[in-house]
Amino acid sequence: MRGAAAWQLDLRPGDADSSGTLFISLGGRWRIDQGLPAPETLNDSLDASVRRVRFEAEQLADWDSGLLSFVAGIGRSCTERGIAIDDSGLPPGARRLLAMAAAVPEQRLAGRPVGPQDPFAQVGEATLEFFRGAPQMLAFLGEVVMSLLRLISGRARFRTRDLWLEIEEVGPRALPIVSVISFLVGLILAYLGADQLMLVGAQIFIADLVAIGMVREVGALMTGIIIAGRTGAAFAAQLGTMQVNEEIDAYNVLGISAIDFLVLPRILALMLMVPLLTLYSGFIGMLAGLLVSVTIFDIGVFEYYTETLRALEFKQFAVGLSKGTVYGAMIAFAGCLRGMQCGRSAEAVGHAATSAVVTAILLITIAASIMTIVYYQLGI
C-alpha cells in the first residue's frame, strides 16, 4: 500500500456478457506533481475485444489537470479505435472540464510552413532566400538614395536633435572600445612587423608598417567591425521595435517619410563619425607601435616619430577616411534595412539585430576588397 499520496490505476475487464466493457478505476492522488502514467500504456489493453470503456473513481482522493490529460489521452485512443467512452464515473467537475476542452474542434490555421529537413534542401532554401532578399535590398537602397537627394535639395525633413543624439551615441561613447581594440591591434602589428624586419635588421620600418597599416586599412576595418556590432545592431533593434509598435506605420499613414525621419539621420551620423573614429583609431594604433618599438626593440622616440612622419603621406589619410565613410554608410544601411524589414515579434527584433551585424560585416568586407584592389590599380 503506497497510501493516498500516489495515483492508482486498475484495469478490470468486465464479465463476458457485459458487451466487452473495460473498467478503468482511478484511485489516490492524480496530480501533476505525482509522476503520472502515459495514456499510451493502456493501448495494449484496448484490443479488439473492448467495445466500451468505463471510468470509475470511487477511490479518487484528489485530482487536477494531470487526471484530465490522462483521461483525454485515453479518450483519443478510444475514438481512433471506435471504442465508446463512459465517463459518468468521474467527478462532475472533471467531466465538465473535459466536455469544455472537447467543445471546440481542433483548428487548422495557416501556420508557418514546415521547411525541408534535408540539409541539401535547406542550403538551397537559404540560397533562394538570400536572392529573394536582393530586390528588397536594392529597393531600400533606392529609397535611401532618393532621401539623400531630397536632403541635398533641402526637402528632406528630420529633427536635427535626432542627428546629434546619434552622433553622440556613435562617436564619443564608442571611444573607449575603439581605443582598446586599436591599441591592441597596433601592438600586434608592431610585433608582427618586428619579427620579420629583425631578420634584415630594419626594425625602424616598424614605424612605417604600423602607421600605413593602421591609417590606411586596419583602423577603418576595426572601427567598422566595432561599430557594426555596437551601433548597427542597435539601429536594427530600435527600428525593429518601432516596427513592432506600429510606429513606422504611423509615419507612413501620415505621409511622413520614415526613411527621411529615421534612416537619414542614422546614415549621416555614421558617415560623419566612422571616418573620425578611423583617424582616432590610427592614432592610437601608432601610439601602441611607438610603445612596443621603444620598450622592446630599442628604437628612439624621435627616430620613430620622424619615420612615421616620413611614411605618412596625405593619400594614406585619404584612403583611410574614404574607407571609413563607406563602411559607416554600409553599417547604417544594413542596420536600418534589417530594422525596417523586421517582423512583428520580439523574436523578429533579435533576428533583425543579428542579421544587421552579419550583413554589415559582409558588406564591409566586400567593400574593403573592392576598394583595396581599385586603389592599388590606381596607384594610390
Binding site: A110, R157, D162, T241, M242, N245, E246, E247, D249, A250, Y251, N252, V253, L254, G255, I256
Partner: protein, 250 residues
C-alpha cells in the same frame, strides 16, 4: 440629392500569400457615420483597416475616398488622400523617441506651417480634449495603456481629419474611460462632422455609438451582415446576433 459617400469599398479581398483573409467586402460609409467593423478574433478586422488606410495593398477590389480610387491613384494622390485620414493604432503607436506634445505636434508642424507657439496651443488643446492636459512632456514609455490610447487619439485628430480610423478604441481601458472615449467620438462626429471607422468587438461601444456596421466572419472569410448594429441585434444574421449577445442566442 446624395453627397458622394466618404468611403466606398467595392469587392475588396485581402490575403497573406495564398491565405485569403477576407473576400468580397462591399460597403459604404457616409459622412458623419460611426461605422463599426465587427467580428471575432482573427477574422481580419485589422487587415481590413490596413487596406483602408493604405498600409497593405488588397489583392482585389477598390477603396474609394469621396469617389477617388485610392489603390489605383498615383503616389502623390495617395498622400493627399491619406492626409484626410487619422488613424489610431491598436497599441497607440506613439513615436517612442518623442514626448506626447511632440507626437501630436509633428503632423501639425509638418503640414500646416504654423509658428511653433500656435502649434503648441493646438497640441495643448488636443491633449486636454482626451483628458491628458499637463502630460505634454511625458514620453510614451511613461504612460499607462489607456493613456497611450488617448494620446494616440489626440495625434490621430491632430489635423482634424475628415475620417478617423480607430483600431480597438476601448480594449484595455476601464469601463468609465472607455465610455468617455465613446462620448468623445460621438461629440467629434456631431460637432466637426468627422466620419469614423471603428474596428472593435466591445459590445457596449458597438451598440452605443455605431450607426452602421459590417460583421466579418472568420469561417466563410467574408462579411455576413451589414447595417445598424441595433437592427443586426434584433433581426440580423444568427451568427451576428450570437456575437452581439455574447452567445445568448443560438
Amino acid at each position: 440629392m446624395y453627397a458622394t459617400p466618404r468611403i466606398e469599398v467595392r469587392d475588396l479581398s485581402m490575403a497573406y500569400g495564398d491565405f485569403i483573409v477576407q473576400r468580397g467586402l462591399d460597403f459604404t460609409v457616409n459622412k458623419g457615420d460611426i461605422f463599426v467593423v465587427m467580428g471575432g478574433n482573427g477574422c481580419g478586422k485589422t487587415t481590413l483597416m490596413r487596406a483602408l488606410v493604405g498600409l497593405q495593398r488588397p489583392v482585389a477590389g477598390s477603396v474609394l475616398y469621396s469617389g477617388e480610387d485610392f489603390w489605383n491613384a498615383a503616389e502623390e494622390e495617395q498622400q493627399r488622400l491619406k492626409r484626410r485620414l487619422g488613424i489610431l493604432f491598436q497599441g497607440g503607436a506613439l513615436w517612442s523617441s518623442l514626448t506626447l506634445a511632440e507626437n501630436v505636434a509633428l503632423p501639425i508642424a509638418e503640414y500646416t506651417g504654423l509658428p511653433p507657439a500656435r502649434v503648441d496651443e493646438i497640441v495643448a488643446f488636443k491633449l486636454a480634449l482626451v483628458g491628458l492636459a499637463g502630460c505634454e512632456d511625458l514620453y510614451p514609455a511613461e504612460l499607462s495603456g489607456g493613456m497611450k490610447k488617448r494620446a494616440g487619439l489626440a495625434r490621430a485628430m491632430a489635423l482634424d481629419p475628415d475620417i478617423l480610423v480607430i483600431d480597438e478604441p476601448s480594449s484595455g481601458l476601464d469601463p468609465l474611460t472607455a465610455r468617455r472615449l465613446d462620448e468623445l467620438i460621438m461629440e467629434l462626429r456631431d460637432s466637426l462632422g468627422t466620419t469614423f471607422v471603428v474596428v472593435t468587438h466591445e459590445l457596449a461601444s458597438i451598440l452605443t455609438i455605431g450607426n452602421n456596421s459590417i460583421y466579418l466572419d472568420s469561417d466563410s472569410h467574408t462579411m455576413i451582415a451589414t447595417g445598424h448594429p441595433q437592427d443586426a441585434l434584433k433581426n440580423g444574421h444568427p451568427k451576428v446576433r450570437h456575437f452581439l449577445t455574447r452567445g445568448g442566442t443560438t
